[in-house]
Amino acid sequence: MVTARYTKNPVGAHYGLGNWLLQRTTAVVMAVYTLLAGGYVLWRAPASYADWKALFGAGFFRLATMLFLVALLYHAWIGMRDILIDYLHGTGLRFTAQFAVAVVLVFYLIWAAAILWGVPA
């Protein structure tokens, strides 16, 4: 007979491993973008406004940049959370700082999308 037993887990909320993994997967996404975008700029540096606009006007590059920025924002969230946990003691102070970081990151996300999809034709 199966009996359900309530056991309280004493060691945390268990999103630490997921965060650890996401910090690394987002890093890989950013590294790939950095190498591709960096390589492209070395190969054909956008010297004029027309080049610059054409680069970000291309659908693929726009999507890749947005993917990079989403990865960056999530990566920054995990990194900033680690830093705040290490140096800001006092739950109220730390939660306030984490909340501020989260709000700023969501603002950056919306801002980034507005920039990339608001490029004048």
Binding site: A31, Y49, W52, F56, G79, I83
Partner: protein
């Protein structure tokens, strides 16, 4: 206190440690930044550059992207501004921050795969990463000047 007087005041411990017990405490670790061994220096610089990349460089980058894409005049303004000697120094520092964070991060990814995890290997790879960050910044500097 002059070092020659030290032995006259501080009694020298000559008792031989006969047991397998750990050495007497307290241990003293010099946490001065200049005395950090390479992996520790790499680590704290990875954290420091990460913080700086989050703020102020991320919003600054988004602002530059937004304004430079907005109009030809704005693009020209940034083009001119970024050729200013002070801006070149700033770009050099940004390049180093990014490069160091990039290479140190790749080193961590490799360590996570349990590759080069021994102490001498980790120390050597830390020195390589510190050098690569500076080399990448130097390469950007060579393009700037």
């Amino acid at each position: 206190m002059p070092p020659e007087l030290e032995s006259t005041i501080v009694p020298k411990v000559t008792t031989k440690n006969m047991s397998a017990a750990p050495k007497p405490r307290p241990k003293y670790y010099d946490l001065n930044l200049a005395h950090l061994w390479p992996p520790a220096l790499l680590s704290i610089l990875h954290r420091g550059t990460g913080l700086v990349l989050f703020f102020p460089l991320l919003p600054l980058g988004l602002y530059i992207l937004q304004t430079s894409l907005a109009s030809e005049a704005e693009f020209a303004r940034w083009h001119e501004l970024l050729h200013h000697p002070v801006a070149k120094v700033a770009i050099f520092l940004v390049a180093w921050s990014f490069a160091h964070h990039f290479f140190a991060g790749i080193r961590y990814l490799i360590l996570d795969l349990h590759v080069m995890g021994s102490k001498p290997a980790a120390r050597a790879s830390a020195l390589v990463v510190l050098a690569l960050g500076l080399a990448a910044a130097a390469a950007v500097g060579a393009c700037l000047w």
